[in-house]
């Protein structure tokens, strides 16, 4: 199976600070890969590089087999962009547009779909993420944090992407909302056959969703594999990250849930 994302020997540098030193990572179709790492380990930067928002100092990033920094062809890049969706940490909804227009915008920008199809498809997307049609005409400023995340997810899913990026999907949500958001992502992943790349600090979200976990530390990916494999790796960062009280709690909860299933 060809990987959806293939990162080879990636170097990132901000002035004198080296963030990634010869980093390698692969994302295979259909998985939910989580990136974890300490603050400043360059998780979000890696996500932005995979989206083509930031150029690495050295190395290649291939998405769907296409080098996103080497390609000069703007149309191909555009087509590539339409196959991926991104949920930004704070939603990044366009504040001048209603929720409905925010979700409809990517479809309208194709400039070929008829308006009534866009309307129905937008309502369906809003329904998928659990928003009511009454919320559709609200402005982003009038929404709560959880609703902003849902609306932003609906916009990310507007063009039925094969690859979905999530930046801190449950940060800033209360536990019950974050549980329902995790459930939402899981069901969408199943029904839409998505590949998901996620950055998260939330251990519960991490164990609930990930099929694989990639740990960023020492400017590289120090471990990448199924959750139980990664947890067993002996490395100071991993021991600190998963071995703390919260880590043990989340891990215990996850194991007992798995045994029940």
């Amino acid at each position: 199976m060809t990987p959806v994302i293939e990162i080879r020997d990636l170097w990132t540098q901000f002035g004198e600070v080296v963030v990634h030193r010869g980093l390698n990572l692969e994302v295979v179709p259909g998985e939910i890969l989580s990136l974890v790492g300490g603050s400043g380990s360059g998780k979000t930067v890696l996500l932005r590089q995979a989206l083509g928002l930031q150029r690495p100092a050295r190395g290649s990033v291939r998405v769907f087999g296409e080098d996103i920094n080497g390609s000069r062809d703007a149309r191909r890049l555009q087509e590539l962009r339409r196959r991926q969706g991104m949920l930004f940490q704070h939603g990044a909804l366009f504040s001048a547009l209603t929720v409905f227009d925010n979700v409809a915008l990517p479809m309208r920008e194709l400039r070929t779909l008829p308006e009534e199809l866009i309307r129905d498809a937008t309502l369906l997307k809003l329904d998928m993420v659990g928003l009511q049609p009454e919320d559709a005409l609200k402005m982003p400023a009038d929404l709560s944090g959880g609703m902003i995340k849902r609306a932003a997810l609906a916009r990310a899913l507007a063009l039925e992407p094969e690859l979905l990026f999530l930046d801190e999907p449950t940060a800033g949500l209360d536990p019950s909302r974050s549980d329902s958001f995790v459930e939402l992502i899981r069901s969408l992943h199943r029904s839409l056959q998505l590949t998901v790349v996620m950055v998260t600090h939330d251990l519960d979200t991490l164990f609930a969703l990930s099929t694989r976990i990639a740990v960023l530390a020492d400017k590289q990916v120090i471990a990448c594999g199924a959750p139980e494999e990664v947890v067993a790796v002996r490395h100071p960062f991993i021991e600190q990250f998963f071995g703390g009280e919260r880590g043990r709690l989340a891990l215990g909860g996850w194991r007992s849930r798995r045994e029940r299933q």
Binding site: E79, R82, R83, F94, S95, A96, F100, M107, L110, T112, L113, P114, E116, L117, R119, D120, A121, L123, L124, K125, L126, D127, M128, P133, E134, A136, L137, M139, P140, A141, L159, E160, S191, L192
Partner: protein, 375 residues
């Protein structure tokens, strides 16, 4: 990827009408130029009775937007004769669930209503009240500042003087010099026809020192610093910095507005002197060039032609204009709501209002000092 297969729809008419679909029914393929149009023409040719047999088993890939097209063509119900690939069933089930969704009608405002008539009036009153409140707060803050000058926001004042004053020297010099040249040329030609060449000094001196210098500087500063102040306060609102200041115990009036008003009230008269000098230099250069009037004569004649009162009026205008620009910019900056559109609107409104108010104040000056500074 131009060699990709396209979604296809074919109608077979035997004893019953059969519609067969094949290819990828996904948004990327459907969005290709002309695809939707062709499919809709074919769909329109399908008879609208229930005896049509739909065969969708030939579809390679289906997403919600492709399925929605069929769903809309079916009049949002499942047709009686439908053949589906098993992996595509879930998509249609999802659509069936959501088929009752409808966008609520947006509330349509009545064309003529008291509300619409009264709204601008209310907004104006609101702005006027807010502005008066701002001035009142400024007076209180000035009192507090005067009572304990050592604890005043000196650093903020100094930073603002640098930003609104020093950094505006270049643009005011350039514009002042050019306007001086233009004015000089214009007057020189008219005066020459009457043989009153030497009166160019009077015209330039009075016009620039009394009116144009302060006005030019004020308009430039309103565009330059007024917009910057409004945008800065607006972004601080968006990022909740304004709220954070209140929580820490830093009142907006004393720490944000007062330093800006004092800084502009200090910097503007200095900018006025600078603009006056530059405009006079431009006028002097043009007068020498056009009329052959020596700069030494120009400079010797200037104090006789322009009574010193005009200079003080110009400086006074500078202080008032500076304070007004800062107040208007702060007024609009603090009213920006946390969204991008409001930021743009607020900044535009702030600059337009600041320039209008400056010109209004200039008219007031002209009336009040109508008997001062002339021979």
């Amino acid at each position: 990827m131009p060699d990709q297969p396209l979604p296809q729809l074919t109608i077979r008419r035997t004893d019953r009408c059969q519609v067969a679909a094949s290819g990828p029914w996904q948004v990327q393929a459907l969005a290709r130029q002309g695809v939707i149009g062709a499919l809709r023409t074919t769909l329109a040719a399908v008879p609208a009775d229930t005896a049509v047999e739909w065969d969708l088993s030939g579809i390679d890939a289906l997403d919600h937007i492709g399925a929605q097209m069929f769903w809309n063509a079916w009049g949002k119900t499942r047709p009686q004769a439908l053949t589906l690939a098993p992996q595509h069933r879930a998509v249609f089930e999802r659509l069936e669930q959501a088929s009752a969704l409808a966008l609520p009608a947006p509330p349509r405002p009545a064309r003529f209503s008291m509300d619409r008539l009264g709204r601008p009036l209310l907004a104006l009153t609101d702005h006027l009240l807010g502005f008066v409140g701002l001035i009142g707060q400024l007076v209180l803050d000035l009192g507090r500042f005067a009572a304990r000058p050592a604890r005043g926001p000196w650093k903020e004042i100094s930073a603002n003087v640098y930003r609104t004053g020093y950094q505006a020297l270049g643009i005011t010099a350039l514009v002042g010099f050019l306007i001086g040249i233009v004015l000089s040329y214009l007057s020189a030609q008219q005066l020459h026809t009457f043989g009153g060449d030497i009166y160019i000094v009077n015209i330039l001196g009075m016009a620039i020192i009394r009116e144009l210098g302060p006005l030019l500087a004020a308009i430039l500063v309103a565009g330059r610093s007024g917009s910057a102040v409004t945008a800065q306060l607006g972004v601080m609102r968006v990022t909740e910095e304004l709220d954070a200041m209140l929580v820490i115990g830093l009142p907006h009036g004393f720490r944000l507005i007062l330093p800006k008003v004092i800084a502009l009230a200090v910097a503007m008269p200095l900018l006025v002197i600078w603009t006056d000098a530059m405009a006079l230099a431009g006028g002097m250069a043009a007068a020498e060039f056009e009329l052959g009037l020596a700069p030494s004569y120009f400079l010797r004649k200037l104090p006789e032609a322009v009574p010193i009162a005009n200079y003080w009026i110009g400086l006074g205008k500078g202080v008032v204009f500076g304070a007004l620009i800062a107040l208007v910019a702060c007024h609009f900056g603090l009213r920006i709501k946390p969204d991008t559109e409001s930021l743009g609107q607020g900044t535009t409104l702030s600059v337009v209002t600041a320039i209008t108010i400056v010109i209004l104040a200039d008219a007031v000056f002209a009336i009040v000092f109508s008997g001062v500074g002339y021979y």
